[in-house]
Symmetry: none
Subunit: 444 residues, 2 copies
C-alpha cells in the first residue's frame, strides 16, 4: 500500500464528523471540503451540494457512451463517541496497533470509502481514466438516517442516472472471505416517553399514590416481547418473507454463527426467537430493541424521587417484505393500547428505511462476485446482513438501480462502539477491489 | 411575638449552612457557634461536640430528680439552593411577604428549631427555669443523612438518657390544624444492574441474537408490581401491620387526600394499591419505587446500540412491622428468581432505615396532643407520614426513647425546593407550643 493512501486515511479519520450533534457541524463541513479537494486533485469533476444540514460531495470522470455508469456511495459522517471513557485512545487521533487502525469511523465508513477513493486514484494515475463512467457520491448524514439524500436524488435524478451502484459499508463473514451481501434489514425508530407528575416528586411523601413513570415505561417495554423472545406486537410478522431453503442451507455452512456471536459479544448466553439459527435471527428476522432507556436520578447513590417522565428509544429492524409505515402504525397502536391512563404517552417517530433484497445472480451481481474472488482468491459468501442501509432502497426507488454491497468490515471491528477499528489489510484489499470491480462491471 | 425572636430567626437564616458542600464548612460552623452563644446567653449549659464533619450543639438546664428529661432535636444545616435561578430572592437574605418568611432553611429546619429555642428563652426569662430536665440537641448533618449522630448517641448514651424526645421537622395537614405524627415509613434502597455484552453492540448486526439489557431490566422492573399496583415480591406484605379501623376513620375526615394529591402532583390520574385511600397509600402501605432507570443511549435522536448494561435504582418504603434486612433479602431473592441466564445480575444494597410507630395514646403522646390543642385551639390531627426520618429509629434503639413529631411545616412550604418559606404565624405558634409542651410533659 502506498504510504500516501495511509496518510489520506489518517487525515480523514481526524475529522470529528459526528453528524447528529450540532456542535460538530463545522467538523462535518471540513471533512466534506477536504474530500472535495482530494478528489479534484485526482482530476475528477467535483461538486459540493449544500443541503439543509450537511453537504453531499459528488465526483465524476468524463462520461462516454458505450460503457456502464457506476455509482460508488460512501458516507463521511460518523456515530457519536459515547461512552468516550471506554476508548483506549482518543477516537479522533487514529492509533495503529497489530495491523489495525483504531478510530471512530475507521470501519464505518471512512476506511471503506477511502479504499475506493484510493483505488480510483491508482487507476487514474496509471491509465488517465477509469474503465466505466463514474459517479462517486459521499454524504454526511448516513448516521442520522440520510434525511437529505433522497430529496437530492430526486432533484438530481437525471445527473445521477446509473446502471449499478456499489457500496462498501457491510461486513465480511470472516477475515479473508469475500462476502457479497444481497439483503439488508430495514429500520423504524420510535421514542416513547411517559409523562407523569409536573415535577419530580419526593417518593416518601407521594409514593403509593401516583404511577411512577419509570415503572410504567418498564411495563410498556415488557409488553413488546413474549417470554420466549418473539415480538408481541399484533401483526408485526404479517409481511415477513420466510427464510428460503437455499439460504438456510448456504448459511449453515458459513463461518461465524452462534459460537462466534457468543465470543464477540461476551454475553453469558445467547437469546433470540425460537426456531431460528444465529445467522437467521440476525439477517432474516425482525427485532425490537431498546437502544436507550432513562428516567429519574442517574447519578451515584440514591435520590428518592418519582420522576416527572421516562423515555425508551426503540429501533425495529425489518425484513422483506415489511413496510416501515405499516410497522410504525402497529407499534403506535400497541403502546396506545397498553399505556394506562395514569400517565400521558408521547410517541416521537424517528427515521425509518425499508428492508432490501436484490438478485445475486443478476449480471452485475455475477461481475461483482468475480471481482471479489479475484481480490481475495477465495469463493464468495452470499449473505444478508442485519444492519440497515435505507439509502439502498432510495437508490432503487429513485434511480431504478440495484446496489452491490461489497463490505470490508470484520465482525470485531466495533462499528458504533468504543475502540472502533479497521484492519489495514482490508483497507489495502479495498483499494484493489475497487480496481477489479470497475474492470468487471465494464465487461459485464 | 417579641421582635427579638424575629431578629434571632433572621440571624439564623443568614448562615449559609449547606452541610453537603465543603465550600460552606465555615458557614456551618459559624451557625453552630452562634447557636451555642445564643443558648449560653439564656443561662443554659452549652457544649459544642466536634464530629468528623459538622459539630453537634447540646444545651441543658440543671437536671433535678422527680421531673422528666425531655430531649428536643433540631438541625441547623440546610439543603443546597440549586436551581438558584428559580428563587425570587437571595436564599440567604430572608424576605418577608404576606406573612411568610422566604429563605433556605426557613421551614427545614431553622424556623422550627428556632421556635423551640425562643420558647425556651421566654420560659427561662419568666420563670428562671424550665418545668422539665432539658437536653436541646442541634446537629449539622441531617441533610446528608446524619452520619455522625448515631455514633455520638452511642458514645454519649449516659449523658443523653431521656424519657421522651420532641422534634418539629414534619408537616401539618393544613394551616392552623395541629398535627401529631405518630408513624413514619422506613426505607430500603437497592440498585439492580443487568450486565449483558462486554461492550455496546450494533443493534443491526447483533439484534436478534442476544438479550438486550434494557429489555431484561424493564421486564424485571415489571415483575415488581402486579397489574393493579400491588407489590408482587413474595412475602413483602407478610409483616405489614394492617391499617387500623380508627386510623381509617380518622384519616377519612382529614383535609388533603386524593384531590389535593392530584392537584399538587399534576398527574393525569392517581394510581395505587387497590382498597386503600390516598392517605393510607402514602402513610401506611409499603411501596416499591424506581427512582432512576438508565441504559444505553441517553442523548438526542437515536443511536442504534444494544447497551452493555442497564440499571434501576429502587427504594422501598416500609411500614410497621417490616424489617429492612428481611425485605432486602426478599427483594434480592425476587430478582435472582426472575433474572434470566442470558445476562448477569448485580445487586447493590444501599441505605436503609426501619419504619417507626409510637403510641399516640401513651402518657407523653396524650400530653403532646394536649399541648398542640392548647396552642392551636383545635383538635389534633393524628397522622402518619410517608417519608423516613432514620434518626427517630436511632433514638429508639440507642436511647430507648420514643419521639413526638410535632411538625409546623405546611404542604406548600417548599422544603428542599426553591422559594422555601415558613409562615410567621407558625413560628409564633411554635414558640407557644414549646412552652405548652414542656408544661404538659412535666405533668404527664
Amino acid at each position: 500500500m502506498a504510504s500516501a493512501h495511509l496518510e489520506d486515511l489518517l487525515t480523514a479519520l481526524r475529522f470529528r464528523s459526528i453528524s447528529t450533534d450540532s456542535r460538530y457541524t463545522a467538523d462535518v463541513l471540513a471533512n466534506a471540503e477536504w474530500l472535495a479537494a482530494r478528489l479534484k486533485a485526482d482530476g475528477l469533476q467535483v461538486q459540493m451540494h449544500p443541503t439543509a444540514r450537511h453537504p453531499i460531495v459528488t465526483a465524476r470522470n468524463i462520461h462516454r457512451a458505450g460503457r456502464p455508469t457506476v455509482m460508488i456511495y460512501g458516507h463521511y459522517d460518523v456515530q457519536p463517541v459515547d461512552p468516550v471513557e471506554q476508548w483506549q485512545s482518543d477516537p479522533f487521533q487514529p492509533r495503529i496497533e497489530n495491523g489495525r487502525i483504531y478510530a471512530r469511523g475507521s470501519t464505518d465508513n471512512k476506511g471503506q470509502h477511502m479504499a475506493h477513493l484510493c483505488g480510483l486514484s491508482d487507476t487514474l494515475r496509471a491509465h488517465g481514466d477509469l474503465p466505466v463512467n463514474l459517479i462517486f457520491l459521499l454524504e454526511g448524514e448516513e448516521e442520522i438516517g440520510s434525511p437529505n439524500l433522497e430529496p437530492f436524488l430526486q432533484e438530481q435524478r437525471a445527473n445521477l442516472a446509473c446502471d449499478i451502484i456499489a457500496i462498501s459499508d457491510t461486513g465480511m463473514v470472516a477475515a479473508g472471505v469475500p462476502t457479497f451481501t444481497y439483503g439488508l434489514r430495514g429500520i423504524a425508530c420510535v421514542e416513547v416517553t411517559v409523562h407523569g407528575p409536573t415535577i419530580d416528586l419526593h417518593s416518601g411523601i407521594f409514593g403509593g399514590s401516583v404511577a411512577n413513570p419509570n415503572t410504567i415505561l418498564s411495563r410498556l417495554v415488557a409488553t413488546v416481547h413474549d417470554a420466549e423472545g418473539r415480538i408481541a406486537i399484533e401483526g408485526l410478522y404479517d409481511a415477513v418473507r420466510p427464510v428460503q431453503a437455499w439460504e438456510r442451507e448456504a448459511w449453515s455452512k458459513l463461518p461465524g454463527g452462534a459460537a462466534e456471536t457468543l465470543a464477540l459479544t461476551g454475553v453469558p448466553a445467547l437469546f433470540g426467537e425460537p426456531g431460528y439459527t444465529d445467522h437467521e435471527r440476525r439477517w432474516a428476522r425482525p427485532t425490537a430493541e431498546v437502544n436507550g432507556i432513562g428516567g429519574g436520578y442517574q447519578g451515584e447513590g440514591s435520590k428518592t424521587v418519582i420522576p416527572r417522565s421516562a423515555f425508551a428509544k426503540f429501533s425495529f429492524r425489518l425484513v422483506p417484505d415489511q413496510d416501515p409505515a405499516d410497522i410504525l402504525k402497529k407499534v403506535e397502536a400497541h403502546f396506545a393500547r397498553y399505556c394506562p391512563p395514569t400517565v400521558r404517552l408521547e410517541i416521537k417517530i424517528g427515521h425509518s428505511g425499508a428492508p432490501y433484497a436484490m438478485d445475486p445472480n443478476s449480471k452485475f451481481g455475477v461481475a461483482a462476485r468475480r471481482a471479489l474472488e479475484t481480490t481475495f482468491s477465495k469463493p464468495t459468501a452470499l449473505i444478508r446482513e442485519g444492519g440497515s442501509i435505507p439509502i439502498v432502497q432510495s437508490f432503487r426507488e429513485v434511480l431504478g438501480a440495484e446496489t452491490l454491497l461489497l463490505g470490508l468490515a470484520l465482525p470485531d471491528c466495533q462499528a458504533h462502539a468504543p475502540n472502533e477499528n479497521f484492519p489495514l489489510e482490508n483497507f489495502e484489499a479495498g483499494i484493489r477491489l475497487n480496481q477489479h470491480l470497475l474492470e468487471a462491471l465494464a465487461s459485464a
